[in-house]
């Protein structure tokens, strides 16, 4: 019997007042904290008689250490960092300046280089970074300001008073599998905050609670997502230059699926090694429920070009992260009574450039300016925080996203239609055939097994689990081992399935239990059970979870809600 995590009821919780609580210590949350500290310091220097305190500003981070849940390609467009910390290049951990770039279209055995790199994929002036290292550094800057980062604490639910967000409840610690208190039980805190800032990354669980409660997404396109599955490799020197950037489209995906790969080169730790960051982003709007994004990456590595690059190398890390593709039209309102939403949680990601870090940072800065106004005016109602919405709309965030506002929607009917729309949008300033292309949620594209060829057709090589040769390709569990993920085992399942009957009686028949395939961490398993009508029942391995949220996004019945497990658990994305 599965017991799911939820905040315990009927217990007394410690109450703690706060000025600002930032949920999530990624690039958006850290930039927000840093900018807020800068503004307060400047204010205090100018107004000796009305000092503002930084003591009651908190960042909640569910990872045991700052940065351990941060994963990205990653390329950093330095625009927002130059605004936040001019001269940051001198001290930030940057692996290499982009020196060389290429875009390829892959076929099974061959490749075609795009004669010119499309403007949105030109990366000169950007840096190859490890987001994990970069955010660790940002975290140290935040701590220098005197703002407290609570690592190992997740936001488990929002607190409300009518239509106002009044705070955040942190996770209950020391709850066993059955939901009972263990001897080390510690209730979650109620942080009663004037301003709550959600910077949880894509598909944030508190963001989801907020959007659902106030129906915030009603006028937006449904958010669409991709899942990026990444491996970090150490390869012999000479295979790829530090700062070399390669994008590929095409194989192993067919023209029907949206997605592509990245390959970035960084200097290695020794003189003989280079580090290769490679990953494959698969749009979570594919049709065949048997498709497995981790398998897609394995197939991709078998391409002669990639296999040669990796030959003799060693895979050292693995991870996965979802990313919001939906663009400008999918962004819900980002400010209201007591709350603001940043970064990937809001959907500030440029899917044409495959970049969101610079937008996350910028959104954090703008939210900090608004939070600062709220503190000086002592008003954090929508009247004050609404300024964040306007700041976003008059900033270069909108300017950048507006140009690609219809990009991903253009691909809903496959690659050729997508390329047509993209071309058209490029010459019409992002408009294309109409100002706003509508979209369907990704999971609505999933088709039932009876509507699909039994052998998988052209997609056959993307379906089902990868076997792995142990050298170039890996099965999912082996990959997963390299994510370093770890959780307290004796706790309720944090993958909340609202109706397991659907899993056991309906989904298994109709879709063949796609959770087993789309989850890049083997959390979901259908185990044999003669007592079930279809001979199987759903079983969870929550401690395998890498916190990518793909299940919450891609499940065709939308009955899975990802909630944070006990704080401190999760992947260990050192160097990712």
């Amino acid at each position: 019997m599965l017991i799911f995590r939820k905040p315990l009821e009927g217990i007394e919780r410690p109450q703690m007042p706060a000025d600002v609580v930032i949920v999530g210590g990624g690039p958006a949350g850290m930039a927000c904290a840093l900018r807020l500290a800068q503004l307060i310091d400047a204010h205090n220097a100018a107004h000796p008689d009305s000092q503002l305190s930084k003591e009651n500003i908190y960042v909640l981070e569910k990872a045991r250490e700052v940065g351990q849940h941060c994963l990205s390609g990653a390329l950093l467009d330095p625009r927002s960092m130059n605004e936040l910390l001019p001269g940051f290049e001198k001290e930030a951990p940057l692996d290499a300046k982009v020196t060389k770039e290429a875009v390829y279209f892959f076929t099974e055995k061959s490749k075609f280089k795009f004669p010119i790199t499309p403007p949105f994929l030109r990366d000169h002036g950007n840096y190859v970074i490890s987001l994990n290292k970069f955010v660790k550094w940002m975290g140290s800057k935040v701590e220098e300001t005197g703002i407290t980062i609570f690592t190992g604490f997740a936001g488990s639910e929002l607190l409300f008073d009518g239509d106002r967000v009044t705070g955040v409840r942190t996770d209950d610690k020391g709850v066993d599998k059955e939901g009972h208190q263990k001897s080390n039980f510690e209730p979650g805190y109620d942080l009663q905050a004037k301003v709550v800032i959600l910077a949880e990354g894509p598909r944030g669980s508190l963001t989801k609670q907020l959007i659902t409660k106030f129906d915030l997404a009603k006028n937006a396109n449904p958010q669409t997502y991709g899942v990026g599955v990444k491996e970090l490799w150490e390869v012999p020197a000479g295979r790829i230059a530090a700062g070399e950037v390669i994008y590929t489209m095409g194989w192993p995906l067919t023209t029907k699926e949206y997605g592509g790969a990245w390959i970035y080169g960084s200097p290695g730790s020794g003189p003989k090694d280079n580090i290769v960051s490679l990953g494959f982003v698969t749009g979570l709007d594919y049709a065949d429920p048997r498709l497995d994004p981790q398998r897609v990456l394995q197939e991709f590595k078998k391409h002669p070009f990639v296999a040669k690059l990796l030959e003799g190398g060693k895979m050292i890390r693995y991870g996965a992260k979802s990313m919001p593709y939906g663009g400008w039209w999918a962004i819900p309102p980002v400010a209201g009574n007591g709350w603001m939403i940043l970064g990937d949680s809001a959907g500030f990601l440029n899917s044409a450039r495959l970049k969101g870090i610079h937008l996350a940072i910028k959104s954090g800065m703008l939210a900090a300016e608004t939070a600062f106004e709220a503190l000086t005016k002592d008003d954090s109602s929508a009247a004050t925080l609404g300024a964040f919405q306007k700041k976003v709309e008059s900033s270069w965030i909108k300017e950048e996203l507006w140009k690609v506002r219809n990009l991903h929607q253009g691909f809903e009917h496959g690659m050729f239609a997508g390329m047509f729309h993209t071309g058209l949008q490029m010459i019409t300033g992002g408009r294309g055939l109409r100002n706003r292309y509508r979209a369907k949620a990704g999971y609505e594209h999933m088709r039932k097994l009876t509507d699909l060829p039994a052998d998988g057709g052209p997609e056959a090589l993307l379906l089902g689990p990868a076997k792995g040769d142990g050298k170039l390709t890996f099965d999912k569990l082996t990959d997963l081992y390299h994510s370093g993920t770890k959780h307290e085992e004796d706790q309720p399942a944090h993958l909340v399935i609202h109706d397991t009957n659907i899993c056991n009686t309906k989904c298994v028949k109709e879709f063949g239990s796609p959770c087993q395939n789309f989850c890049p961490a083997n959390v979901y398993e259908m185990v044999e059970d003669a007592s079930q009508p279809n001979g199987k029942h759903i079983s969870l391995n929550p401690s395998n979870c890498v916190h990518c949220k793909t299940c919450d996004i891609a499940d065709p019945y939308q009955i899975i809600t990802w909630v944070p497990p006990e704080g401190g658990g999760g992947p260990n994305y050192d160097g990712m």
């Binding site: 604490f153 805190y189 569990l477 081992y481």
Partner: protein, 331 residues
């Protein structure tokens, strides 16, 4: 009347809990800072012998709060006894160690007297005549200063190790001891104490085992684990499992081998129906000899096995057990 600090020391099963000395030190330190008087109390069926022990320390007075109904310990009796005693004595501050027993009765006692407890403190400050206690929040990431706004008596408990027990100052002479008999009416005690629960020692230390028989998902059903157990018994080894088995509750967690369980290196490791995912292998790859039984000839466990048996464990294990038994009987 001078303000008084009262330290309630803890005795249990005929012994003074050592952590009580830490609380005495805490009381002495606060008394030095505030100039208040320090007294101590022991509660129990016959508290006097413990009171004598405490009286050797630098305290103004020691009370032995006694009633036959205080033995064995029950939260009801302790609450009634202490409430009576405190109401008569009117101390300003009551200090206790943050032990399981105190955690059990202190909230009840404070509530019965309409007061609150500042629990699990790690220190105190005395600033401008104000007494402030320090508690940890967010798993020690923050230290909160907490003070009382209510009337006395104030209750506070100190975390283990907050003060040094060996620093408790001895008194110039033995402090006077006063025995206080408390009345506990019939019917007050609703608790029926059972035998004292001791956390079961880990039943098995697999890291010391020389022979381990481990089962994986191939065992299919909980009842089949008996097959593996018989083999383990015949070999004189211990039974272990891969994660799915312990996760299903078929075997306790302390028998789980692998990255989320124990790491073992026995002389002989028999893997029955274990596919050999890397998460399991990291926990047993140091074994001297590995024998693996699996239906799937491509199971990764065979890559590290010294002896590979491709076949159904239900066909292989029972006869193997019989052979082991025969061989052992013959030797």
């Amino acid at each position: 009347m001078l303000d008084t600090i009262l330290v309630v020391v803890e005795q249990r099963e005929g012994k003074l809990n050592r952590v009580s000395w830490e609380t005495i030190t805490a009381g002495q330190t606060i008394a030095a800072a505030t100039g208040w008087t320090l007294e101590a109390a022991v509660v129990g069926g016959s508290a006097a012998p413990f009171a004598a022990e405490v009286a050797a320390k630098k305290v103004a007075k020691v009370y032995a709060v006694e009633s036959p109904k205080l033995e064995p310990y029950t939260p009801d009796a302790f609450t009634v006894a202490l409430k009576q005693f405190l109401a008569a004595k009117q101390p300003k501050l009551v200090l206790m160690p943050h032990t399981y027993q105190v955690r059990d009765f202190a909230p009840k006692l404070a509530t019965a007297m309409g007061r609150t407890v500042i629990s699990d403190c790690i220190g105190f400050k005395h600033e401008n005549g104000k007494l402030v206690f320090t508690r940890q929040m967010f798993q020690g990431k923050l230290a909160a200063d907490v003070s009382f706004t209510s009337d006395a008596p104030w209750f506070a408990t100190f975390q283990n190790g907050s003060f040094r027990g060996d620093k408790a100052e001895a008194g110039a002479g033995a402090a006077p001891i006063e025995t206080v008999a408390v009345e506990i009416a019939d019917g007050v005690i609703r608790n029926k104490p059972q035998e004292v629960f001791k956390e079961a020692k880990q039943a098995v230390d697999l890291t010391q085992a020389e022979i381990i028989v481990a089962v994986g998902r191939g065992i299919k059903e909980q009842k089949n684990i008996e097959i593996a157990k018989q083999l383990a018994d015949a070999l004189g080894g211990d039974l272990a499992a891969s994660r799915p088995i312990c996760d299903s509750g078929w075997l306790p967690m302390d028998r789980q081998i692998g990255s989320s369980g124990q790491t073992v290196a026995p002389k002989l490791y028999l893997a029955l129906g274990i596919s050999g995912a890397i998460q399991h292998i990291v926990g047993m790859k140091g074994s001297k000899t590995i024998i693996a039984v699996n239906k799937d000839s491509e199971a990764p466990i065979f890559e590290i096995a010294d002896y590979a048996i491709v076949g159904n464990l239900f066909d292989i294990v029972p006869p193997l057990t019989e052979e082991v038994k025969k061989a052992k009987a013959g030797s």
